[in-house]
C-alpha cells in the first residue's frame, strides 16, 4: 500500500496581520506551519500504513523553506518527502497548482505505484478546497471529499465516512482514489525523539520543473486562469451609540427595541 499525502505550508492564520496603510499582508511576522488539515491527513496515512503495511510519501509545492513541513511529516512517520520547487511555479492558482502536484505524483508513481492519495480538506490560508478534487480529476482517480473516518480497506476497496451538514454518508470506492480529510480522521500523535532526529537528518527530495516533465505554459501566473485584481479591507460596520444608564432603564429600552423589531 503506497499512500501519497499532499501537504502545504501556510502562515499561522492567527498571526497574520494586515498593513493598515497599504492594505497588504504582513506575512513576515507569522510563522509558517504545516496546514492543520494536512497534518491530520499525514497522521491518517501513518495509521493506515501501521495497519496494512506499505509506505507513506508526502509531497508539497513551495519554496525551499517548505522543507520544514516535509521534515515534520518525516518525524510523524512518513517514509519519503518530495518538494516541488521551481521559480516557474510561483504565482500558480489552484488549477495550476493541481497540475504541478499531479505531475509530481505521476513522477512518484513511475517508481512506485500509488494506491491512495490524501489531502487535507482545505488549506487554512486559502480555504478553497479545490486542489484535492483537481488532482483527483487529473489522475483520473475518484474523489471522496470531507472524509472523517476510514471504515475499512479490503480487496482493493476503501469504505469511508463522508461528513455532511447533518450527519455523514458511508461510501465505498475502489482503489486507487483520492480522499480529502477532516480533522476527525485522526488524532495527532507526538513524535518520539529518535523520529525527530531522523527527520532532522532527512534529506528532502527536491524536484524542479524539468524533473517532473511539466508544461511551463500550464503554471505560474501565465498558466493560471484566475488572478487577483485587488485586495481591500472588509467593509466595517458602524454601530450605534452605547446605551447608558442604570441596568433597569437600559434593558427596558433594549426590550422595547427588540419587541419593535420582532413585531
Amino acid at each position: 500500500m503506497h499512500i501519497v499525502v499532499c501537504i502545504k505550508q501556510v502562515p499561522d492564520a492567527a498571526q497574520v496581520k494586515i498593513d493598515p496603510i497599504t492594505n497588504t499582508l504582513d506575512r513576515s511576522s507569522a510563522p509558517a506551519i504545516l496546514n492543520p488539515y494536512d497534518e491530520h491527513a499525514v497522521e491518517a496515512a501513518i495509521a493506515i500504513k501501521k495497519q496494512f503495511g506499505g509506505k507513506v510519501s508526502v509531497i508539497s509545492m513551495g519554496p525551499m523553506m517548505a522543507k520544514d513541513i516535509i521534515k515534520k511529516c518525516i518525524s510523524m512517520g512518513a517514509d519519503a518527502g518530495y518538494l516541488l520547487s521551481d521559480r516557474s511555479f510561483a504565482g500558480s492558482d489552484t488549477l495550476a497548482t493541481s497540475y504541478i502536484l499531479t505531475m509530481g505524483i505521476k513522477k512518484i508513481m513511475e517508481a512506485d505505484p500509488v494506491d491512495l492519495v490524501l489531502c487535507g480538506k482545505q488549506a487554512v490560508d486559502g480555504d478553497t478546497a479545490q486542489v484535492g478534487p483537481g488532482i483527483a480529476r487529473r489522475l483520473n482517480f475518484p474523489v471522496l471529499t470531507y472524509v472523517q473516518k476510514v471504515e475499512s480497506i479490503e480487496a482493493g476497496t476503501i469504505i469511508v465516512q463522508r461528513k455532511m451538514d447533518n450527519g455523514y454518508e458511508i461510501v465505498s470506492c475502489p482503489l486507487p482514489c483520492l480522499l480529502t480529510v477532516e480533522k476527525d480522521i485522526s488524532e495527532l500523535g507526538y513524535a518520539s525523539l529518535p523520529e525527530m532526529i531522523r527527520a532532522a537528518k532527512y534529506d528532502v527530495i527536491t524536484w524542479g520543473v524539468n524533473i517532473i516533465a511539466a508544461d511551463t505554459t500550464k503554471m505560474g501566473l501565465k498558466g493560471s486562469p484566475t488572478s487577483v485584481r485587488k485586495i481591500f479591507a472588509p467593509e466595517e460596520r458602524v454601530g450605534g451609540e452605547p446605551l447608558e444608564g442604570d441596568i433597569k432603564t437600559v434593558t427596558g429600552i433594549l426590550v422595547s427595541k427588540v419587541m419593535e423589531k420582532l413585531s
Binding site: D26, D68, Y190, L193, P194, I197
Partner: protein
C-alpha cells in the same frame, strides 16, 4: 543509544555560536530548541554586534538578514517635556566592516541556524529538555519530554536562557531574585523606510539607536530604547522586576506612556504597532554569574547571566561565551576527558575576556543604583533642570546660573550626601 559528542540546549545566539564552532570542527553536535524553530521564541532589543559575530562567520553581513547598520548612537536624559541629549555619529559605521546592526531575531536566528545545519549541526525543534541526566556525579545527557526522549553526550552545554531550568536543577544557581532580573518589553511600530530616515535624520539604509533614561522609565532603574529597522521602529523599555512590582505600574502602561511622551511620539506617529514582546533579561551582573562549568556541563549566554546591564549588551556576550565554551570542548575532545577540570579552560577564558572584565567593572554599579533610587529619580531629572537653567536666555549672568545649578543639583539631597553618592557611583564604574 542516542549518543552525541555535544548536546546544546537552546538555539539562541549563545547556543548557535557554540554549535557553529563545534560543527565546523567536525564535532557531532545536536541542538535542542523548544520553539517551532530557532528565533521563534527569541526577543532582543535587536542590536547585533559586528565583531563577535564576525569572529564566527567572517563578512556575515553579505548574507545574513540584517535591518540597518547603526551609524549613530544617541543618549537621552528625559524630563517630563525636556531632554538633555548626547550622542555619537560616525559615517565610517555605514560601511564594511560596520560597528553593529539592528536585526530581527526571528529572521536572524533562523539564518544563523541554517548556517549551523550547513556546517553539520543537527537542530531538533519543538523539543523541551527538562533535566540533565546525571550519572556518578557527571552530566551525561539530557531528558526531553518526547517519547524515548533521553539523549546522551560527552558534554551538555546549557544555553536555555534566563530562566535556565536545567542549570537550576543542577543546583548551579538558584531562582533569580526580582532585583536580578529586568523585564524588557518592546513593540515593533511599522513605518515606511523613508519616514524613518527623515525622522531620524539618516541616509537611506542607515540606522540609529537611542537609549533613554529618566522619565522614560518613570524614574525607575532601567532604560528605554528606540531602534530603527528597515520598515519598523523598535521601541521598548526595561526595568528591574523588583522596582516594577513596587511601582504597581503594568509594563504595558509604562510602554504606552513612553510612546505618548511628547518627545518620542513624533518619531513613531502614524505607525501601527504590529508586534509586542515581553522578555526577562538577567541584570544581576557579576555577582550573580553562577558556576560556569561542571563535570560534563557548561553554561553560556543568558543562562549564565552574562548580560552587561549598564551598556545594554547581551547578545555579544552570548556569542563570545558560546564560542569559548566550544573551544574548551575541542581541547577536552582531543584528550577524551570531559570532567570539570578539563572544561575549566572555558571559565578561565571567559574570565580573562571582556565578558567578565566588563561585568566586574560594573559589579557594584547596578546594585548601588538599585539600592538608591535617587540616581534615577533625582539626579537624572536634575541634569535636565541644569541644562534648562544654563541654556535659557533670561538676562541673568552665567556665573550665577552655574551656582544655582550646583545648588539645585546637590540641594535635593544635601551637599555631602550628594557628593558621596556621585563619587560612589563613579568609583563603581571606574
Amino acid at each position: 543509544m542516542n549518543k552525541y559528542d555535544v548536546i546544546i540546549v537552546g538555539a539562541g545566539v549563545a547556543g548557535l555560536s557554540a554549535a557553529y564552532v563545534l560543527a565546523k570542527a567536525g564535532v557531532n553536535v545536536v541542538v535542542l530548541e523548544r520553539g517551532l524553530n530557532p528565533g521563534s521564541k527569541n526577543v532582543m532589543g535587536g542590536v547585533l554586534y559586528r565583531q563577535m559575530m564576525e569572529e564566527l562567520i567572517p563578512e556575515f553581513w553579505k548574507d545574513a538578514p540584517l535591518e540597518r547598520p547603526i551609524v549613530e548612537q544617541r543618549f537621552w536624559l528625559m524630563g517630563k517635556d525636556a531632554v538633555t541629549s548626547g550622542g555619537y555619529k560616525d559615517l565610517e559605521w555605514s560601511k564594511p566592516p560596520y560597528n553593529n546592526f539592528t536585526v530581527f531575531r526571528g529572521k536572524f536566528d533562523a539564518w544563523f541556524a541554517s548556517k549551523c545545519v550547513e556546517a553539520g549541526a543537527l537542530i531538533i525543534n519543538e523539543t523541551v529538555a527538562v533535566e540533565c541526566i546525571v550519572k556518578e556525579g557527571k552530566v551525561v545527557g539530557v531528558r526531553t519530554t518526547r517519547p524515548d526522549g533521553d539523549l546522551y553526550a560527552n558534554v551538555v552545554i546549557l544555553a536555555d536562557g534566563v530562566n535556565s531550568l536545567l542549570a537550576r536543577r543542577l543546583g548551579f544557581h538558584k531562582e533569580w531574585r526580582p532585583s536580578q532580573v529586568a523585564l524588557a518589553i518592546m513593540e515593533q511600530i511599522k513605518l515606511p523606510a523613508l519616514t524613518i530616515e527623515e525622522r531620524f535624520n539618516v541616509a537611506s539604509g542607515q540606522g540609529v539607536t537611542i537609549e533613554l533614561y529618566g522619565d522614560a522609565t518613570l524614574g525607575m532603574m532601567g532604560t528605554a530604547f528606540i531602534y530603527t529597522n528597515k520598515e519598523h521602529v523598535s521601541i521598548g523599555c526595561g526595568t528591574l522586576l523588583s522596582q516594577l512590582s513596587q511601582s504597581k505600574i503594568t509594563p504595558y502602561d509604562l510602554l504606552d506612556r513612553l510612546k505618548q511622551h511628547p518627545l518620542v511620539e513624533p518619531l513613531i506617529k502614524g505607525g501601527e504597532a504590529v508586534e509586542y514582546y515581553a522578555h526577562l533579561i538577567p541584570e544581576g551582573g557579576y555577582h550573580s554569574v553562577p558556576k560556569l562549568v561542571g563535570n560534563g556541563v557548561m553554561i553560556i549566554g543568558d543562562a549564565a547571566q552574562l548580560v552587561n546591564g549598564i551598556h545594554r549588551e547581551g547578545s555579544n556576550l552570548a556569542m563570545t561565551s558560546g564560542r569559548l565554551a566550544a573551544e574548551a570542548y575541542l581541547i577536552a575532545h582531543r584528550v577524551g576527558d570531559f570532567d570539570e577540570r578539563m572544561l575549566s579552560p572555558y571559565a578561565v577564558a571567559i574570565t580573562e575576556s571582556y565578558v567578565i572584565k566588563d561585568l566586574k567593572k560594573y559589579k557594584n554599579a547596578t546594585h548601588i543604583m538599585e539600592k538608591n533610587p535617587a540616581y534615577f529619580n533625582t539626579y537624572l531629572p536634575a541634569v535636565n533642570e541644569a541644562a534648562k537653567e544654563f541654556l535659557s536666555v533670561d538676562g541673568r549672568p552665567k556665573r550665577s546660573k552655574q551656582w544655582l545649578i550646583l545648588k539645585r543639583f546637590f540641594g535635593h539631597r544635601g551637599w555631602f550626601r550628594s557628593l558621596w553618592e556621585i563619587i560612589k557611583l563613579g568609583r563603581s564604574m571606574k
